[in-house]
């Protein structure tokens, strides 16, 4: 893998902000940067944190090396289809993913994007102990932190 672009270093930096970045176990840093871009499209930051802030890529990374390993080949083989996104502005990335969804970039890419949508939701909304939802950001957003976290 080639070295990271300045842009990707910034993205990964944001993904690991505040606390020390968890070590990657499945993705290379370069793959993690690309998955982070896609996940941020799935749940973008606005006035509330998005997938990058929640550290969703670390949830996905951990699960692909464990419980969700059945998806590992799909990620390994098909992530390359998303390479063009790296240098696109955010709006163009959205359009690119809409085209992926319509299978304009092949069946496998559509299948992987579907998996990334699901895995992003899992990482964003589930307990931080699984590796995502850092700082319980999704629970804060929904106003259910008290009910979901710790106490019950």
């Amino acid at each position: 893998m080639s070295s990271l672009s300045r842009r990707e270093i910034i993205i990964l930096g944001a993904a690991s902000a505040a606390s020390a970045a968890p070590a990657l176990t499945f993705f290379t840093a370069r793959q993690a940067a690309l998955v982070t871009l896609i996940a941020e499209q799935v749940i973008p930051a606005d006035e509330d944190p998005g997938a990058t802030d929640a550290g969703v890529v670390y949830y996905i990374d951990r699960q692909l090396a464990g419980t969700l390993s059945q998806f590992a080949p799909l990620y390994r083989e098909s992530l390359v289809a998303f390479e063009p996104m790296r240098e696109m502005p955010v709006g163009a990335q959205t359009e690119f993913l809409k085209a992926v969804e319509k299978k304009e970039h092949g069946e496998a890419a559509a299948r992987l994007f579907n998996a990334i949508i699901d895995h992003t939701m899992q990482g964003f909304y589930s307990a931080p102990s699984h590796g995502g939802n850092r700082g319980e950001v999704s629970w804060k957003m929904l106003g259910i932190q008290r009910e979901m976290g710790g106490h019950h």
Binding site: V42, D46, Q63, T67, M121, W139, L142, H152
Partner: protein, 544 residues
């Protein structure tokens, strides 16, 4: 290894097996209760949305694990495909002490009188093997009562104007309505309907030494932290063990029922930690749920029963059914999510029967509390964007301003729906893999559309600004409500067991679980399984 004989061996410690263990051991019979799973404690699973009985993306919280596979052909599929235990198509029911009742939502319904007489009420549609039960509601009433008191049910007597005669009140008052139930109550009343509190096997007050519900949001799909949920694991099974006559053996996988030359059962073969063990017994009670009970009988082949024990007519494994859940979601302007479990607390039975041109129907109830991942993946209009800002905005706006109303449409039994043994492949215990077929009858889909339209009308009356339907497809989803594979009946030609769950062709083998259900009612089936189990157990004690 061959163990000393006991009076009865019960295979499976769920809703039915737990009751049988309790009744037989209380009567002084020496009982061995086999469970393939473990005696799970709350601390093992706690509150984890991704690993519950409802959301299994990180595996089944209550077993079995993904080493278990089945071959399924569902809906319009033309070939079998292999699925693992945490896949939705597998038809999983928990494998742990308590079975499905350890993590169920705990609705504790009595079927309505007509639910036992579906064929004589409606006639069988083409392509369906619809029949009446060999027992009536009235014959089962006192056993429902025993189940309600043994498991602990909260409810309001007389509130359901459609239910059959009830001799005795519920043991506990109902759980309180939450905010959405109050809205629904007013709306349904306004439409001339008859809403009431759902009977729940959840303690509304301290009962039988167990705590009252603390209304935490982790209810359906989770073990109860305070044991307020009436699981057999926390009620009848510990009592059975306390008699000194019941031995609970966990992580024991039954592979075969042994028979003698005359075709009577002599006991059970099971595997524990790689060792094959024979447990002789005078009576064998099969309580593994509809799919695995059929599998065990089909795998118990002998000279007398070349096609499986009790399978003299080819009915074992046939007529597998469940429920075609259908209903509607509604989005609202105002916020009413209050974070209180179980949340499902209001229902109505106006559409179970008497629907013009429809055979049967379903009760309608508000949905259990919505946790955020499942909400994100399911509670959106069918054509809405599933990702991006639209998704996020929707979550923020409607997570606390939505509700769902749905019901279990009772399915028309179809003979070709069911399980059979794969001729080649076996699991790690040496038991043939199951092939499972399930395609819903067109009638089910029609009834489901009717029920969904009624749910939608109520949500609109409650003030929903947007509604969308939740409709089943043609692929049957078996899971927790699986039933029908060893149907009971008076005619040995068209049924597997008699009304006491006793196999027609083997007098000392009983199937005590949803397998014997002829039809599955428009309700969650656990209390009916238990009522039938009380009746069967009484018969066993009297005759063995």
């Amino acid at each position: 290894m061959k163990l000393p004989a006991v009076d009865a061996v019960i295979i499976g410690s769920g809703a039915g097996g737990g009751v049988a263990a309790h009744e037989l051991s209380r009567a002084g019979r020496h009982v061995v209760l086999l469970e393939r799973g473990r005696n799970q404690q709350w601390t093992e699973t706690k509150h984890d949305e991704l690993r519950s009985q409802r959301t299994t993306v990180l595996g089944n919280a209550f077993g079995p694990d993904d080493r278990e596979v089945r071959l399924v052909k569902l809906g319009e599929a033309t070939a079998f495909r292999e699925v693992h235990a945490s896949d939705g198509s597998y038809g999983n029911i928990a494998t742990c002490v308590g079975g499905g009742t350890k993590s169920y939502g705990a609705m504790a319904w009595r079927f309505l009188p007509k639910d036992f007489q579906m064929r004589s009420t409606y006639g069988a549609p083409d392509g369906s093997s619809l029949e009446d039960w060999p027992i009536t509601y009235d014959e089962l009433e006192s056993y429902y009562e025993r189940a309600e008191y043994a498991i602990g049910v909260s409810g309001q007597r007389g509130a359901n104007t459609f239910e059959g005669a009830r001799r005795r009140d519920y043991p506990m008052p109902p759980l309180p309505f939450n905010k959405e139930a109050k809205k629904l109550h007013a709306a349904a009343k306004g439409l001339g309907l008859h809403p009431f509190p759902i009977p729940m096997a959840i303690n509304s007050v301290t009962y039988d030494g167990r705590s009252a519900c603390v209304q935490c949001p982790f209810c359906v799909g989770f073990a109860c932290e305070v044991k307020a949920k009436g699981s057999t694991a926390d009620t009848v099974i510990p009592k059975a063990v306390a008699t000194g006559h019941c031995e609970l053996r966990t992580e024991c996988v039954a592979t075969e029922i042994m028979t003698d030359a005359k075709g009577r059962a002599t006991g059970v073969v099971y595997v524990r930690a790689g060792t094959r063990i024979e447990q002789p017994a005078k009576v064998v009670v099969v309580s593994c749920s509809a799919i695995e009970s059929a599998r065990l009988l089909l795998n118990s082949r002998s000279k007398m029963f070349p096609n499986g024990l009790g399978n003299h007519n080819g009915f074992v494994g046939r007529n597998l059914q469940s429920h075609a859940y259908s209903g509607a979601y509604g989005y609202f302007e105002d916020e009413f999510w209050d974070g209180l479990g179980p949340a499902a607390c209001i229902a109505l039975c106006d559409f179970n029967h008497g629907n013009d041109g429809i055979r049967g129907g379903a009760m309608l109830a508000n949905e259990f509390i919505r946790l955020p991942y499942l909400f994100a993946r399911t509670a959106h209009p069918p054509k809405a964007a599933t990702w991006g800002l639209e998704h996020k905005t929707r979550q923020r706006r409607f997570y606390k301003r939505s509700m769902a109303l749905q019901g279990p449409v009772q399915e028309m039994p179809v003979f070709s729906n069911g399980v059979e043994l794969d001729p080649q492949r076996k699991d790690s215990f040496g038991v043939p893999l199951l092939r499972m077929t399930g395609k819903r009858h067109e009638e089910d889909l029609r009834t489901a559309r009717f029920i969904a339209s009624k749910a939608e009308a109520i949500l609109k009356a409650a003030g929903a600004i947007e509604t969308f339907l939740k409709l089943p497809g043609s692929a049957t989803s078996f899971g927790q409500h699986q039933a029908g594979t060893c149907r009971m009946g008076n005619d040995p030609k068209t049924s597997v067991a008699n009304s006491y769950c006793q196999l027609h062709s083997v007098d000392n083998v009983f199937v005590v679980d949803g397998s014997v259900h002829v039809t599955n009612g428009g309700f969650n089936p656990s209390l009916t399984i238990q009522a039938v189990a009380f009746r069967a157990s009484e018969y066993i004690v009297r005759n063995f």
